[in-house]
């Protein structure tokens, strides 16, 4: 990278890392931004965070381009509008942005759960009638166009 371009690239990559740094609301352990031969890596000490990171589920998102639909509240997750009815979604279904994928019952109120992304349902993580907590992953979606 002996040309003036390199300067721009480095600048761009560093800028990207800066943005990520600012965007993260939790302490980071490592950032890597790479563009061709240009690479930025930052790593923070992990002693204190090691336990925290270890306690988290493996981040499926990003790494494999799969996304979760997560519980928008604490409640009981149902696959279907009523007992015995067809589920809102099945494995392999193609769903649209905003499609209902289930129901969350909280304080006897049925709250629809909608997909925040379009794509194919690759896994239903929570069995029917299971209590879930806030932001618990419910189903896995492979985004459309991937």
């Amino acid at each position: 990278m002996q040309d003036p371009e390199s300067e721009i690239v480095v600048d761009e990559v560093v800028r990207g890392a800066e943005r990520l740094l600012r965007a993260s609301d939790r302490p980071l352990r490592r950032i890597v931004v790479r563009s061709g031969a240009v690479c930025v890596e930052l790593e923070w000490p992990s002693a204190a965070e090691a336990a925290i990171v270890a306690a988290e589920p493996a981040p499926v998102e990003g790494a494999t381009s799969l996304l979760y639909v997560r519980a928008p509240m604490v409640g009981t997750f149902y696959h279907a509008p009523e007992p015995g009815a067809d589920p809102f979604v099945r494995l392999g279904d193609l769903i649209e942005l905003g499609s209902q994928i289930g129901v969350l019952e909280a304080m006897k109120i049925m709250n629809p759960v909608e997909a925040g992304v379009a794509g194919r349902v690759t896994e239903v993580l929570v069995p029917d009638g299971t209590p879930v907590e806030y932001e618990q992953p419910l189903i896995v979606i492979e985004p459309a166009g991937v």
């Binding site: 204190a48 925290i52 509240m73 604490v74 409640g75 304080m107 209590p131 806030y134 932001e135 618990q136």
Partner: protein, 449 residues
């Protein structure tokens, strides 16, 4: 006794409750926001349910989420801690409707004592001395002016629904009354959703002394002595101690007995605090707090009574396991609140990640904290990081011990300041050491008006 108790709170008080649950053999369920997923209580509680995002309105104040969490974990009771939903009678009522025991007084009592004007009238009736003031919240500014003129200046306007030292305004000059009324009403409406105010004679400099009471559902009631909370900044307590130094013990005994009598008279149950102003040898009732207080450990230190345990016992319908004769306070205890605030910038909350955190230890030193190295302090919540409590055979020993404990307390993190230096300054203040101080001490020390 309950098998499982859900703790509807966070920070040090959630940890405090979880500790007693474990000691009592009760399963504890912590609820947390996404900001608190890795907080200290989540390590100590038997189960954790994430109930919402960082904003308290959507997590720690989110009643449906908390009720759902209780249901899914099989909790039979909810401990509300302090702050958040602890003084919300609606929450207590919803708990009851959902078959959950709210660990606190009945919703009726909370309603009656939560309305400060009504509490004042109730307690005056129950025999407690009150300051000159109006029995009913005035309907408009003119009525307020009339009431204030009758009471005499300075007067204090207080939000009926206020608490925690907020929603108050002192008026020295009669010409300022109407404007102050409008301002305070507007802010009370905004903050508490209730614009009603009441008026009271304002006592410029006095001691803030409160009495800890404990009553069960079977007609037993005790007090655990008084706490002096006069070291305050804008009604936010910073240092508390027991017994109240420099006061005539016959006065404090009288207050303590009057408080427990009044509590019994109105049918109060559980742990409560009666706040009084003490001016010379006079004391007047201010308000009742229907919950555990931040500063409860000083009473625990001198009496040996675990107040959270007693709260849980009473809520479970058991009798208190102590009588007034069993309460024999011994020595002196002090609490200092270590807040992540910058006193030099008007006590602005500070945030950041703790790179080093080493609480003090050793003889007669207790620390209640949710802090640990690596904790990220966010601006979402109250800035209380740790309470340091020291005990001594006498006040001087307890204060020297406190200064020693604060001196060895390490709290480090980029951007994080604490009240430790200010606390140590107060400990060295001659007026405080001689117990000649009053609620204006800190204001004077800080050069505020």
């Amino acid at each position: 006794m309950f098998d499982t108790v859900l703790i509807a709170n966070r920070g040090e008080i959630a940890l405090r409750v979880a500790r007693t649950c474990r000691e009592m053999g009760i399963r504890s369920v912590a609820v947390c926001s996404t900001a608190d997923l890795h907080s200290a209580v989540t390590r100590v509680a038997d189960e954790v349910v994430c109930i919402g995002p960082p904003a308290a309105r959507r997590s720690y104040l989110n009643i449906p989420a908390i009720i759902e969490a209780a249901r899914r974990t099989g909790a039979q009771a909810v401990h509300p801690g302090y702050g958040f939903l602890s003084e919300d009678p609606d929450f207590a009522e919803i708990c009851a409707a959902e078959g959950l025991t709210f660990i606190g007084p009945t919703p009726e009592i909370m309603n009656r004592l939560g309305d400060k004007a009504r509490a004042r009238a109730t307690m005056a009736e129950a025999g407690l001395p009150v300051l000159p003031g109006g029995e009913h919240p005035p309907d408009d500014a003119a009525e307020a002016k009339e009431a204030a003129d009758a009471i005499g200046y300075p007067v204090i306007l207080k939000a009926v629904a206020g608490g925690g030292g907020r929603g108050m305004k002192v008026v020295h000059d009669p010409r300022d009354l109407i404007r102050a009324f409008h301002d305070t009403r507007a802010s009370a409406r905004a903050v508490f959703g209730d614009g009603r105010l009441y008026l009271e004679r304002y006592v410029e400099s006095a001691r803030h002394v409160e009495v800890q009471v404990l009553l069960d559902n079977r007609g037993n009631g005790v007090h655990l002595g008084e706490r002096d909370c006069s070291v305050q900044r804008r009604h936010q307590k910073l240092i508390e101690e027991t017994p109240a130094p420099g006061l005539d013990p016959s006065l404090t005994t009288h207050m303590c007995e009057a408080a427990v009598k009044a509590a019994a008279a109105v049918g109060f149950t559980g742990a409560g605090t009666f706040e009084f102003l003490v001016d010379g040898t006079d004391f007047t009732f201010m308000e009742v707090n229907c919950r555990i207080q931040v500063e409860h450990p000083v009473s625990e230190a001198v009496t040996g009574v675990d107040l959270i345990r007693q709260q849980i016992r009473v809520a479970a319908g058991l009798p208190l396991d102590l009588s007034q004769d069993d309460v024999v306070p011994s020595g002196h205890a002090v609490e200092c609140r270590v807040n992540t605030e910058a006193p030099e910038r008007g006590f602005a909350p500070t945030a950041g990640t703790l790179t080093d955190f080493r609480p003090p230890g050793g003889p007669f030193t207790r620390v209640d904290t949710h802090g640990f190295p690596g904790l990220t302090i966010t601006p979402d919540y109250d800035s209380l990081l740790a309470k340091v409590i020291t005990w001594g055979a006498d006040r001087e020993t307890a204060l020297e011990r406190m200064d020693r404990a604060l001196a060895e307390f390490v709290v480090e993190g980029h951007g994080v300041s604490t009240t430790i230096p200010l606390l140590r300054k107060v400990l060295r203040e001659p007026d405080f050491r001689a117990a000649r101080h009053d609620t204006l001490l800190l204001t004077r020390m800080l050069g505020e008006t």
